[in-house]
């Protein structure tokens, strides 16, 4: 699966795109996995206004993932 970080999240983590194989089965499991690798990123992913999109659709709460999923973590948007 493909994981994308945007805006300040990418700077914090030091990466903007990562392929994960095997893929975590759920969005929450993915977040826990990323938190194990990088606690500061984990805290930021739970920060105020951070949204997650699965296959380019914003989801609230947990969601099922597969190896073909694309998950993006979106910090608060700035406008253009």
């Amino acid at each position: 699966m493909r994981v994308l970080l945007f805006g300040a999240l990418g700077d914090l983590a030091g990466w903007r795109e990562q392929m994960l194989d095997p893929a975590p089965e759920t969005l929450f499991a993915l977040r826990d996995r990323l938190t194990r690798d990088d606690a500061a990123l984990g805290a930021a992913l739970r920060g105020r206004g951070v949204q997650a999109a699965v296959d380019k659709v914003v989801v609230r709460g947990d969601a099922a993932l597969s190896s073909a999923s694309e998950v993006a973590f979106l910090p608060p948007m700035s406008g253009g």
């Binding site: 805006g7 380019k56 993006a72 948007m77 700035s78 406008g79 253009g80």
Partner: protein, 156 residues
């Protein structure tokens, strides 16, 4: 019809406007807006716009559809720069076509307020003492809220 493009190449507002105006025997009014990156008297060396291709443009497209219905626009063109943008360079170009001028002015105004405050971009300002991610200003939110309620048309 509405067209939304994210461009990592410089925007040419004149050429975009000329192209947008072509073949419009029933239009009557085209309003365009070009936003330029501001240097803040030398404090800002560059802006950097992060976008999510396929998500950012889809969200803008949805808003363009709303604008078309709400203001009876015939056509909308939105071209937004992404990546690194130097002061003075165009960052956004919006054009709205309508049968009459008020709809075109309002449509372009509405689209710009959305783009400035709610569109899914992440903006970084590169300054002499480092870079920082920026959020919409209070004024940007107020400008965008002007369109929430009541609808201007209803108030007439």
């Amino acid at each position: 019809m509405s067209t939304v493009r994210l461009s990592s190449e410089p925007i040419q507002p004149g050429a975009l406007l000329a192209g947008f105006c072509q073949g419009r025997e029933e239009t009557g009014a085209v309003v365009s807006f070009t936003g330029l990156a501001r240097g803040e008297k030398g404090a800002v060396t560059a802006l950097e716009l992060d976008a999510y291709p396929g998500f950012t443009d889809a969200a803008i497209h949805e808003h363009a559809k709303t604008a078309k219905t709400r203001f009876e626009l015939q056509d909308v063109l939105i071209v937004h720069r992404i990546g690194r943008i130097a002061p003075g360079e165009p960052i956004v170009f919006v054009a709205a076509a309508a049968a009459h001028r008020r709809a075109a002015f309002d449509g372009a105004d509405f689209l710009m307020d959305y783009l400035k405050s709610r569109a899914p971009f992440w903006k970084k300002s590169h300054e002499a003492d480092g870079a920082r991610w920026i959020e919409p200003t209070a004024r940007d939110y107020e400008d965008a809220a002007r369109w929430d309620t009541p609808m201007r048309k209803d108030a007439e």
